[in-house]
């Protein structure tokens, strides 16, 4: 089912060998200093060209999560694609992260602004707290609560909604997922995004992202927002394809091209989708 679906969208179900990636915790160390330090231990790193503080791990004789530099919080293991949203949003002063755990993007946002981090699941929240302590970050306020219960407005919002994931993240993904499950996710995502827009201040910016390749969770969620709220899409300058404007043979809002869609075979990242919205 997914193979044909993806081919119709100009993508594919091709498995790609992904290099592991790290993001430097610039609260603690400069990227060049960390690179030098890890290289002295025999770890070969190359810069990820499309993000500011990320490296590909080209070669390492040991697992990086057991080395002192990891335990000291000098870096975070984070896929290249998921390092993009915080940089694209580039918040100032304060930012809301509505679905924060385990904290990769949250701790990255904290490099730019004070963060309000929400997470509904107490176990996942625990992981976020451990990561924040390991990285030594002091400008995050976190609550275990449902995003839909929040009423405070923000200038910057990251809406990294729960999604069905993609085949690069999980073996057997194509067998586990059904169209019904994707549709159910899509229904929730439309609610989450609508609520996020209701919290967005007039001159604010909102970054919606998923690690799903399904248009029902991506472009069609954005189109629903475009039709029901006074928001418009802004172009995103990063890797990947334009968002789809023709889906399953039907033409959709032409401004959806401003979204970014990362097909693993083309970008050598996990599957990923991003859209930047503003009120208009």
């Amino acid at each position: 089912m997914f193979k044909k679906k993806y081919e119709k969208m100009g993508g594919s179900l091709t498995n790609v060998h992904l290099k592991r990636c790290i993001r430097v915790n610039t609260h603690k160390i400069k990227p060049s200093d960390l690179k030098k330090r890890l290289e002295q231990k025999g770890v070969k790193l190359t810069k990820i060209p499309f993000v500011n503080h990320g490296f590909y791990i080209e070669n390492s004789r040991f697992n990086l999560v057991s080395c002192p530099e990891y335990l000291l919080g000098l870096f975070y293991i984070q896929d290249a694609a998921s390092q993009i949203p915080a940089e694209i949003l580039h918040p100032k002063k304060t930012v809301l992260d509505g679905f924060a755990a385990p904290g990769g993007k949250t701790t990255q946002l904290a490099q730019y602004a004070d963060v309000l981090a929400l997470e509904n699941n107490p176990l996942r929240m625990k992981k976020l707290l451990h990561n924040v302590e390991r990285l030594g970050i002091g400008n995050i306020v976190a609550y275990t609560m449902d995003f839909m219960d929040l009423t405070t407005s923000f200038n910057y919002i990251l809406c990294d909604v729960p999604c069905s994931g993609n085949y690069m993240l999980e073996s057997g993904w194509t067998k586990k997922n059904t169209q019904e499950r994707i549709n159910e996710r899509s229904r929730l995502q439309k609610q989450y995004l609508s609520h996020a827009i209701s919290l967005l201040k007039d001159d604010g910016a909102l970054l919606y992202c998923t690690c799903s390749l399904e248009p029902e969770e991506d472009e069609l969620v954005i189109e629903h927002a475009l039709h029901h709220h006074s928001v418009c899409l802004e172009p995103i300058d990063t890797i990947g394809d334009e968002g789809l404007t023709t889906i399953f043979g039907q033409k959709h809002d032409p401004s959806l091209k401003h979204c970014r869609r990362l097909w693993p075979a083309k970008t050598h990242t996990i599957g990923f989708f991003m859209a930047r919205l503003r009120k208009c």
């Binding site: 002192p68 335990l71 004070d114 707290l129 924040v132 030594g136 306020v141 976190a142």
Partner: protein, 148 residues
């Protein structure tokens, strides 16, 4: 309890707030992120918490204390690995012991880069080993936390 812990290392004080059993470094800038009628699980730089009437410091607190204390043991790369992975600190891996030489006091353990690895109780120097009563707290704990 937070103050008592800090006093074992330095006379300097740290401005903090307490929310339930957790302590955070005072940061007025974060007040705008407070949600009325709800209790945060994190409110800025976490300094430690009380569990069953015992104070457990965070690594953030150790890092802050490290700026103002002489109660430090500096270890080389091998000592760093030993300490992080749960072994005794051996005398040959210790670069220097600063502050009080009395047995029983607390010492921060730092690597050669000046980074705090954890802390332990100083038990004196023998010919074979310096027993620092490791594992009161060391950053190796993040390995266990990642697995859970």
């Amino acid at each position: 309890m937070l103050e008592e812990f800090i006093k074992q290392f330095t006379t300097k004080t740290i401005e903090y707030i307490q929310i339930d059993e957790k302590f955070y470094k005072k940061n007025n800038q974060l007040k705008s992120l407070k949600i009325p009628d709800r209790t945060p699980v994190l409110f800025g730089l976490f300094l430690g918490e009380i569990k069953k009437n015992t104070f457990y410091p965070s690594f953030n607190l150790l890092d802050l204390i490290a700026q103002d204390t002489d109660e430090i043991i500096i270890v080389n790369t091998w000592g760093e690995m030993d300490f992080l992975y749960g072994k005794y600190l051996r005398k040959r891996h210790i670069i220097s012991i600063k502050g009080s030489q009395d047995k029983g006091g607390l010492k921060l353990i730092k690597n050669q880069m000046g980074e705090t690895l954890g802390y332990g109780r100083f038990l004196g120097i023998s010919d074979i080993k310096v027993k620092v009563a490791n594992h009161i707290l060391d950053r190796g704990v993040f390995l266990k936390r990642d697995k859970n």
